[in-house]
Amino acid sequence: MSASSPLTFVNIRLVTPGGVRPGALRTAEGRIAALGDVSPEAGDLVIDGKGALLVPGLVDFGVFAVDKPAFHFGGITRAALMPDQSPILDLPSRVSYIAKSGKPDLWVHPLAAATRGLGGSELGELALMKEAGARGVATGRRWIADSGVMLRLMQYAAMLDLVVVSHAEDGGLAGAAAATAGEMATRLGLPSAPAEAEALAVARDIALAEMSGARLHLRQVTTRAALDLVRSAKARGVAVTCGVTPAHFMLSDLALAGFRTFARLSPPLRSDAERLAVVEAIGDGTIDVIASGHDPRGPEDKRLPFSDAEPGMAGAETLLAMTLTLVRDGVIDLPRAFALLAATPARLLGVDAGQLAVGMEADLALVDPEKPWIVDSGQMAATAGNTPFDGQPTQGRVLALYKGGAEIG
């Protein structure tokens, strides 16, 4: 099937920003042409959704690997790639190469390295990288310790209207920590850092964003103190958004028991009280984005003593199902779930996608939100099965996925 042949989805429930409603949706020339009370036109390929949800393809904001099978399993049609690659995305040529790497059925939006080699001192060539396809600028999985560098970065990014994606953990406190300070880290004897390392970093980055006028996106905010800072900054009108991955609203540091390295994450898992603060912040709108943080890591990185293992989880396949647990628990409704998973990340990246509206790119997923399945680290589509949700029963699966109006096989 070519992208140019129009599709009409019938017998579906449309998840639009305004609500969930039965209807139909028609695509033409790779974009959404009409939705609602729509009938197929002659020559259309008609797809009977049999009552399934039709949702926007997920826009995964902040992944560490381009892992197409995992993204497609998870309903992800666009992914913003963190600059922590080998080699690091700190040159226009690398950005340009990555920007084309997934097409046509996965669009990768590179996030340019804020500083050369992510070293935290010399600014990257942001304007050139933007022209090469960068959709944002990121500090990587580390904090820029020098506040002067961070201010100049934000001023420059504000001029270019690039969102600044920051990793909010005060480096001096975080050090080589592998866990959050607390009973679990103490019992397991793991190097740990106080949870307050996050709030310290968030406070500084918000102050700098206010000074510079930059759009700041805190990729993961996982503690009550830091979420309070974001909440009050938003109330003041600061251009700050923040995200989280399902691990931090599903799990606490109890998951570290037995030195399970699949639960070694950055930032580390927190106490259950912090987890509940994250759930609350998703519910009240403080958290804007839920992303997978997809970072498949094989045994060479994970079959190690806990603190020697690399942080990160393969999260693309479980992103949708874990987010749907928030819907079933009544924390959010379906339209808001897809704002968190698609519309807001698309807006931050400045791409015409992420919601069911006329004129948007026809990145679509047919979803059965109730379909039960069991996460199995040995049976993952990802290049590695390092999921902290291994063995967990869950619900919600993608039945079919379309990028630019073409079905992904």
């Binding site: 050090g175 080589a176 300070a181 607390g182 009973e183 679990m184 880290a185 103490t186 019992r187 397991l188 004897g189 793991l190 190097p191 740990s192 106080p194 037995g258 030195f259 045994p299 060479e300 079959r303 190690l304 003593p305 806990f306 603190s307 020697d308």
Partner: protein, 347 residues
Amino acid sequence: MTSTGSSVGTGRFPAGRLAFPHRDLLGIAQLARHEILYLLAEAEQWVELNRQRSKHSDTLAGLTVINAFFENSTRTLLSFEIAGKRLGADVVNMHAAQSSVKKGETLLDTASTLNAMRPDAIVIRHGSSGAPHLIASKVDCPVLNAGDGQHEHPTQGLLDALALRQALDDRGEGAEDFTGLVVTICGDILHSRVARSNVLCLTALGATVRVCAPPALMPTGIEAMGVEVFHDFDAALRGTDVAMMLRLQTERMDGQFVPSPREYHHRYGLTRARLERHAPDALVMHPGPMNRGVEIDSEVADMIDRSIITRQVEMGVAIRMACLDVLTRSARGVPGWATEQAGGQWA
């Protein structure tokens, strides 16, 4: 009833393998109170043997014990080596430089290699917390944790309990466990696996445990392990029955945690004057190696009536003999100790 392979009288402990149903000894945290007491009771026979002129037993004859030490150690390695040899095992020491096992799969590859040589027990010391758990998942024989990172050092916790119980017995204050006893552990609690194993072991046996350190060397949330937290050593010592001193583990410190050894000694050093003032009857313990003049003064360390530091070392051999004996019973086919997988590694 057939022999359990144990010198322990019947009735006090569950029969056979039920007395100690673990394949590995990875930490005190995995042990119930009666399992700790069982290992202590088992060690008593080896204390006796170790005081004979001929210190040999054939209990582990024909078995191979590998001491795989990925971190420098003198006393613990020696203690395990002597323990294995006195039980008649073939003991092999493997010194692996920490640097060569930090990367990639090498640690598990090393474990596979050791496993392929069909040892009957592997003793692991490693600089990373949890390393023995990882190795235990890869090998077919019992694994004994001889100290992992900042996590646990279970045989140290056991030997300290045995030394303490004997010292109390000598004073006529002996009992099976430590109910009512107040123990103060002072020093670098944050970086100490000895502290964690001792906290778990002593609290399991009924003692009240105080931990004392400057705030930077006190792990967050340790009160959840059932201890009282002190930053003032004088207050912690007041009314204590045992003062267990730990050294500053500068090799694990990333940055400066105390201003100077002199200042540390001023606030946290165990001096004779301090001991006389706050705890004139207290016993003094130290897992070694000691930094005399920093956490403990020489005249305290060498007090014949109060310091049980050398007894701790002596009990170390007996405890390790007991652990090696108990953990290999299943593979040795001791009646009552069979498991479904018994002998599996030779199948």
